[in-house]
């Protein structure tokens, strides 16, 4: 009797242990931006692979890197990261090499493949998954659309107090550089003086410097009529209800943002994590990511167009992408020292 009880206990313990191991195997932990939390994006992958994808949102690459450094190896499997910051994650040894030949980058818009950003020494550690523009969003009922085609007229006296500036210094300083005729890739310490002059002028016209929700609220409630640094990611989700809230890329051009996805080097589920990355950059996954309930943006994979409706493509301005990609520049990717100087200039401008 005792032997039977002992046997049952051991067997139960073994089964529970096996079950725990199985359930641990069936979970994937991803550190992501909010657009990945849309169930319409995640559930098809979970159903196909019989896994649970645990998602944790973050804001700011610094916050993500700090979180990863404080986590135990294996806690996280997938990382979504600002395209210009992939090199920081690579340098920190956080990302695993991806099987480049299994990624559909041949079908990508060529400008956003960015192998040099997503890789190092010939190896690929991340892949671009989504892109869009930091440009000028505005209320077409309240401003002259022709004025929005020139950056200096956007922050002219005519729109004093009717502007909100997106609260992220890199794209906004990129726009200021473009107005000064400086390429975003050419921004250096010497360029900060003219950029600072434009920032001061912009700031003096602005009613607020706002994050995503506040900028969207300000535009939707009529608190401001223009958001400098806005774009499709700000107004696309409102397109159906508020078609007058729109965006444009002015003559001087605009700044292009990208986000990349990779597998973490310490992941114990590299295969599953790689499958997740492959799903996200597949045509179906890309269409779902592009139209996520959190924010819309262009899919990196051009074949996603086959899975988007005409109305969705209109909102994303699918047919204009060739022109937009030609007229926009990747937003500044400063090294540490320049980053500190840019941040100081930004904070000084805000405190003026």
């Amino acid at each position: 009797m005792t032997a039977k009880i002992l046997f049952r206990s051991v067997a139960t313990t073994a089964l529970v242990g096996a079950g725990t191991a199985a359930s641990a195997q069936d979970e994937l932990n991803a550190l992501v931006w909010c657009d990945h939390t849309d169930p319409a994006l995640i559930e098809p992958f979970e159903a196909e692979h019989n896994v649970t994808v645990n998602l944790r949102e973050y804001e700011g690459t610094g916050a993500a890197l700090a979180l990863l450094e404080q986590s135990r190896p294996g806690d996280w499997d997938v990382l979504v990261i600002d395209g210009i910051d992939v090199f920081r994650a690579i340098d920190a040894g956080l990302l695993a090499e991806l099987p480049a030949d299994e990624l559909p980058t041949d079908a990508f818009f060529p400008e956003v493949v960015m192998s040099e950003n997503n890789g190092s020494d010939g190896a690929i550690y991340a892949v671009t998954e989504k892109f869009g523009y930091n440009t000028i969003s505005y209320n077409s009922d309240a401003v002259d659309a022709a004025d929005m085609e020139n950056l200096s007229s956007v922050w002219s006296e005519k729109y004093d107090g009717r502007i909100s500036i997106y609260d992220y210094y890199l794209p906004v300083m990129g726009l200021a550089a473009l107005e000064q005729g400086i390429d975003t890739a050419a921004i250096d310490a010497a360029a900060l003086e003219p950029i600072g002059e434009t920032l001061s002028q912009m700031r003096s016209r602005a009613a607020s410097v706002a994050g995503v929700v506040a900028a969207q609220t300000a535009l939707a409630t009529g608190e401001v009529d223009i958001v400098v640094g806005g774009g499709e990611w700000l107004t696309a989700v409102l397109a159906e209800e508020r078609p007058e809230l729109t965006w444009t890329i002015p003559e001087e051009g605009a700044v292009r943002w990208t986000q990349s996805i990779g597998v973490l080097a310490d992941s114990e589920k590299t295969d599953l994590a790689t499958e997740f990355v492959k799903y996200i950059v597949s045509a179906e996954g890309q269409a779902r990511l592009a139209t996520s309930s959190c924010f819309w943006g262009m899919p990196a994979n051009a074949e996603a167009g086959d899975f988007l409706s005409d109305a969705q493509k209109d909102v994303l301005r699918w047919d204009d992408q060739a022109d937009y990609l030609a007229r926009t520049q990747l937003y500044p990717a400063p090294d540490t020292d320049l980053d500190i100087e840019m941040q100081d200039l930004w904070l000084n401008t805000l405190q003026q």
Binding site: T61, G62, S208, Q343, N348, L350
Partner: protein, 283 residues
């Protein structure tokens, strides 16, 4: 029972509180202090006894300005909240019939029940150009153009005051209801007017309630990130906002820790000044 065993028992009772304080205040404080003396070399944290982060406070104008802005906002909020909360607490304590006082208090603290973030965004809508305040004033003909109320210091102070008036009302009310009516009767019998009674008797006796609430207001306000971020529109930056910028992209924990230590120093100085000025130990 020996003195030794009494002492051991005393330590036994105090141990949980001591351990709690050590684990959740002293140790984190020491870690934060050590972090503030470290530096960043690229992404690498270099521990040491560097004063670079504190030197930055002196060399970067926006950091000093952030401290100044934080103090200005906090002092304004504290004073305005006291001026509004005291009459409210007085009315609840002395003018509202006792059977209705609980309900009155409940109504006073009702806004506590809503989310802090939601409440801040609600204020943003109320104060917007198309919001209820501007529309009402336009409707009444008091103004011809909408006023800029949202995304200003006024909006930040309004959001804070809405929250802290409730807190101060509670601490002042708790003090007022403990006062024996005999104090007022005695003052009146001695010929004091209502104002003199308030000025020389009631107010000094309720200072502990005022100061407790004021100190809590000061501490919570100066360290708050959400209200100035949502309602202030980044038209000026407070210390917590600057700390968040340091962490968001560059994860500059050493500079953020130095700013946090400075914030803590300000709070400590404020407490010591208030305690000394009011001689709280004598109250």
């Amino acid at each position: 029972m020996s003195a030794g065993s009494d002492q051991a028992r005393g330590w036994g009772f105090a141990a949980p509180a001591l351990l709690w304080t050590m684990a959740f205040f002293v140790v984190p404080f020491v870690v934060m202090g050590a972090m503030s003396l470290a530096t960043l070399d690229g992404r690498t944290l270099v521990w040491g006894l560097h004063l670079d982060n504190y030197a930055e406070l002196a060399s970067k104008a926006y950091l000093a300005r952030a401290i100044f802005v934080s103090l200005e906002i906090t002092l304004t909020v504290t004073v305005v909240s006291i001026l509004l909360a005291y009459p409210l607490a007085w009315i609840i304590a002395f003018r509202v019939p006792q059977r209705w006082q609980r309900l009155a208090l409940l109504l006073a603290i009702l806004p506590f029940w809503t989310s802090y973030v939601v409440r801040s965004y609600a204020w943003l809508l109320v104060l917007a150009r198309e919001g209820v305040v501007n529309q009402t004033m336009l409707g009444l003909g008091l103004i011809s153009e909408p006023l800029t109320l949202a995304n200003t210091r006024f909006a930040t102070v309004t959001g804070f005051v809405h929250f802290f008036v409730m807190l101060l009302t509670l601490t002042i009310y708790a003090n007022l209801v403990q006062l024996s009516p005999n104090y007022r009767r005695a003052a009146m019998d001695l010929g004091a007017s209502a104002f003199q009674t308030f000025r020389h008797v009631i107010l000094p006796l309720t200072l502990p309630g005022i100061m407790t609430g004021a100190f809590l207001t000061f501490v919570l306000c100066i360290g708050d990130y959400i209200t100035p971020q949502i309602l202030g529109g980044n038209t000026e930056l407070t210390v917590p906002q600057v700390i968040m910028v340091q962490l968001g992209r560059r994860a500059d924990f050493p500079l953020a820790a130095a700013l946090a230590i400075v914030l803590m120093g300000i709070v400590t100085l404020a407490y010591l000044a208030m305690a000394r000025w009011l001689r709280l130990d004598r109250l």
